[in-house]
Symmetry: C2
Subunit: 449 residues, 2 copies
C-alpha cells in the first residue's frame, strides 16, 4: 500500500513537472481514492485544486468525503483561486470537455456559495461551464424545501433560511440527495392551507434549466414562461442554483445590444456611448467597415468588366445607386424580418425552403410593383428600351434580394453563427454586386450591346 | 327645482340629438349633482355612460355617490360597453383631453376590475388613456394594505383577499382615501417580525408610475429597477393599479420588434412570420421600399447632373457603389449605435452637440484609414490623381456620414419620432446622394474637369 502511494507521488511529481493536465488526469485514475485523498493533503493549494478538478465526477465525490473538514474548505479556497481557474479557462474547449467532468453538486454548491456575481463568473470555468452557459449566471443562494414539509413548516423554513437568498418567490423542492422534485411559489406557500404538504402544491414538472444550456435560450425560456425564477440542474437532475427573471432580463438585454450593434455593422461597445473613449468607438466599427469596403471592391470589379458598355450608354451609370440601393433595402428588409422571427422562435433553420418560397413570391410582387414604376419613369425620360431594362432588372433583383436576404439568417443560425452578423451588412454587399451583374446582363440582352 | 330639472332634460335631449359631446358636456356643468343623478337614471345605458363620462372629476365622484347601488353597477356596465368606448376612442386627441377628465380612482377601479387584459384594453379609452399610456396595461386586481397593520395582520389580509390578484409579490400600502403611501414586498412581509407595522417595513418612496406615462418608458423603469411590479397612480397620487414585470417585458418586446422591423425598413408584422399571409408580408415592406426608391431618384438626378464628367472619365463610374456603400455603412453604424444608446438611456437628445463632435472625430479617423487604403489601391490601378480623388472623397464622406448618422436618432427623438424609423433607411439614401455630390465635387476640383 505505501509502495503504491510512493509510486503515485513520484508519477504525480513527474506529471506536474511536465505541466501536462492530461498526464495528471491519467495518473490519478489508476489509484485508490484513499491514496488520492492522502496525495491531495500533501500538495500545495494550487496543485491540489488542479489535481482534484481532474478527477471524474464519482471519484471526486468519494475523495471529497474522505477529506478532513478543514482540508475540504482549503480545497474549496484553492478551486476558487483565480490562477487555478485560468489554467482551465485557457484549455481548448475540446480538451476541457474531455478532461473536466461535472463537479458533484454538493461541491459545486460549496464552491459557489457566498460569492458575488463577479466572483462567480471567475469561478465558473472550474465548474466546466462554457462562457455562454447559463450555469455562469445562476445564483447558488437559494432556500430548498422538502416535499413532505407542511406549508406552515416550509414557511418557517423560509423565514429561518431565506435572508441571504437571491429570491424566495420560487422555491425548489428536492429529495435528500439534492435531486429536483418540483418548484413551489411563495404565493402558493402563503395562500395554501398551512396544513397541506408542499408536495401537493408544488409544480412537479417545472421548467428546468440545465447548467450547460446556452444562456440566451435559457433566459428566453424564463421570459416566455413568465417565471420569476427557474432552477438549474446538472446532468443527474441535481439542483445547482436558480436563475431569476432579473438575470434573464440582463442576459437578453446584452444579447439584444450585441445583435443591434452587429446588425448595424459594428461591434457592441463595452461601455455606455458617452463614456467610451473615442478610440473605442473607432475600434468597434473599423474592422466591419474595412471588411465591407474590401468586399465592395467586388462592385468595382463588376463595373470594370462592363466599362465598355458604360461607355456606349453612359445613362446606364445614372441608375447604379438606385438599383443597388433598392436591392440592398429589399434584402435587408427580409433579413431583419427573419432575424427577428428566429429570435422570437417563430421560425427555425429547418424551415428554410418554406421561407425561401415565401420570399421568392414576396420579392416578385415587390419587384413587379417597383419595376412597373421604374419602367414608366425611365421610359418617359430615356425611352422605352431603357425603361424595359430598368423595369426587368428591378423584378429580378428584388426577387433575388428578398430570397437571399430571407435565407441568410437561417443559414447563419444553422451553422451556429449569429444571424444578425451574417445578415444586414453582408447582404448589402452581396446585393450590390449581384444587382450590377443582373443589370448589365439585362441591358446587354435587351439593348444588344 | 322641478322646473330646473325639466329644463335640464330638454336641453340634454337637444344636445344628444345633435350627437355633440361638447354640448352635452356644457349642459351638465350647469346643473346640481342631484339633478344630474336623476337625469342619469332616466337615460338608456349608452347615453347614461356618455353623459357620465363627460362630468368633471369631482362632479363625477359626487354624482356616483348619489346613485343607488344598482344604478351604479348599471352605469359601470354601460361604461364598459365597447360601443360607448368607441365614441371616445374616435375623438380627436385634443378634444378628448379637453372633454374627458380623469375618472375618480374608485370608479376607475370598479370599471376595470374583473376584466381580462383584452377587455381592459377595450375599456381603457373610457379612462382617458392614450393608446400608448401605461394605464392601458395595468392590472386592477391587487391587494392593498394599510400602514398601521402588523405584518401578521397584513399576511392574513393577503391570504383572505389575494386569490384573484395579479401579483402579491409587491403590495401597495394606501391611506383611507386610496392615496399611495408606499409599497411592501411579500418577502419583507414574510421575513419581518410579525408584530412589526407594515409602515416600518414598506418602501415609502417607491418607484411609482403615472397612468398617462408612456408605456415603453414605464416598462423600462420597472426593468431597470428590477421590480417585480410597480404601482400606477392618477394625478392625485391615488392608486389605480399595478404593472408587473411580465407586462413590462411584453411591452418592451413589442417595442423592440417594432424597432427592429423599422430599422430594417419594414413595418412590424401583425402575426408570426409563417402565419402571416403573403400579402401581409408585402404590405409590411412595400411602403418603405417605395419611399426609399423614390428618394433614391435623387441619386439619378445627381449623377445626371454630372453626366458630362462621367463621359470624360468613365472610370469615375466604377467607384460609385463602393463610395455610396461605404458612406451608407458608416452612417448606419453611427445611427444604430446612437439608437441603441438612446433606448438604453445612455444619451439624450440634448447631448446632440457632444455626440456630433464625437462622431466628427470618429468619422475622420475611419475616413483617414479607409481613405489611405483607397488612395493606395486606386493609385496603383488608375494612377495617382485618381487615387487622390478616391482617398479624399472617403475622408469627407465618412466624416459626414458618421456625423449625420449619429445626430439623426437624437433629432428624431427630440421631435418625438421613433429614432429607429428615421435612422438606418433614410440615412442610406441621404448618404448615397451626398457622397455622390462630394465625389464629383472632389473630382472636378482635383482633375480640373
Amino acid at each position: 500500500m505505501d509502495d503504491e502511494f510512493n509510486e503515485l507521488i513520484e508519477r504525480m511529481d513527474g506529471a506536474l513537472r511536465e505541466r501536462s493536465l492530461s498526464s495528471v488526469s491519467k495518473v490519478i485514475t489508476d489509484y485508490d481514492p484513499h491514496d488520492v485523498a492522502r496525495l491531495l493533503e500533501r500538495e500545495d493549494p494550487r496543485d491540489r485544486a488542479i489535481i482534484y478538478r481532474l478527477l471524474s465526477r464519482n471519484r471526486a465525490l468519494e475523495v471529497f468525503e474522505l477529506l478532513e473538514p478543514e482540508m475540504r474548505s482549503e480545497l474549496i479556497q484553492g478551486l476558487r483561486d483565480e490562477d487555478t481557474a485560468k489554467v482551465f479557462e485557457e484549455l481548448d474547449p475540446d480538451d476541457r470537455a474531455q478532461l473536466i467532468d461535472e463537479l458533484p453538486a454538493g461541491v459545486a454548491k460549496a464552491l459557489m456559495s457566498g460569492l458575488s456575481p463577479a466572483e462567480r463568473a471567475l469561478t465558473a470555468p472550474m465548474l466546466g461551464f462554457d462562457a455562454d452557459a447559463i450555469g455562469r449566471y445562476m445564483s447558488t443562494e437559494y432556500v430548498r424545501l422538502r416535499g413532505d414539509m407542511t406549508l406552515r413548516e416550509a414557511l418557517e423554513h423560509v423565514r429561518a433560511r431565506g435572508i441571504g437568498a437571491e429570491t424566495i418567490y420560487q422555491l425548489p423542492v428536492t429529495s435528500a440527495h439534492r435531486r429536483l422534485l418540483g418548484v413551489i411559489s411563495l404565493r402558493r406557500l402563503v395562500m395554501g392551507d398551512p396544513d397541506d404538504l408542499v408536495r401537493t402544491h408544488m409544480r412537479d414538472q417545472p421548467i428546468t434549466l440545465h447548467s450547460i444550456d446556452k444562456a440566451e435560450d435559457a433566459a428566453r425560456e424564463i421570459m416566455d414562461a413568465q417565471l420569476l425564477a427557474a432552477p438549474v440542474v446538472d446532468s443527474e437532475n441535481r439542483l445547482l442554483g436558480l436563475v431569476t427573471i432579473d438575470d434573464a432580463q440582463q442576459i437578453l438585454e446584452r444579447t439584444e445590444t450585441r445583435r443591434a450593434a452587429r446588425q448595424g455593422g459594428a461591434e457592441p461597445l463595452r461601455r455606455p456611448y458617452l463614456a467610451s473613449p473615442l478610440f473605442g468607438l473607432v475600434r468597434s466599427r473599423v474592422v466591419w467597415l474595412l471588411l465591407l469596403a474590401v468586399s465592395a471592391l467586388l462592385t468595382v470589379q463588376v463595373l470594370g468588366a462592363f466599362e465598355d458598355k458604360l461607355e456606349q450608354v453612359i445613362q446606364l451609370a445614372l441608375f447604379v445607386p438606385l438599383l443597388t440601393g433598392t436591392a440592398g433595402n429589399t434584402g435587408s428588409q427580409a433579413a431583419v424580418t427573419l432575424t427577428r422571427a428566429l429570435a422570437m422562435g417563430d421560425v427555425r433553420p429547418r424551415d428554410i425552403l418554406l421561407v425561401m418560397w415565401r420570399e421568392v413570391r414576396v420579392g416578385m410582387m415587390l419587384g413587379a410593383l417597383l419595376g412597373g414604376l421604374g419602367f414608366v419613369l425611365a421610359s418617359l425620360v430615356f425611352g422605352i428600351e431603357f425603361g424595359e431594362v430598368i423595369g426587368l432588372t428591378l423584378i429580378f433583383i428584388c426577387t433575388l434580394a428578398a430570397t437571399v436576404g430571407g435565407a441568410m439568417p437561417l443559414i447563419a443560425q444553422a451553422v451556429r453563427a449569429d444571424p444578425a452578423v451574417f445578415s444586414t451588412p453582408f447582404i448589402a454587399t452581396f446585393c450590390d454586386a449581384t444587382s450590377l451583374l443582373v443589370y448589365f446582363g439585362v441591358a446587354t440582352w435587351l439593348m444588344g450591346l
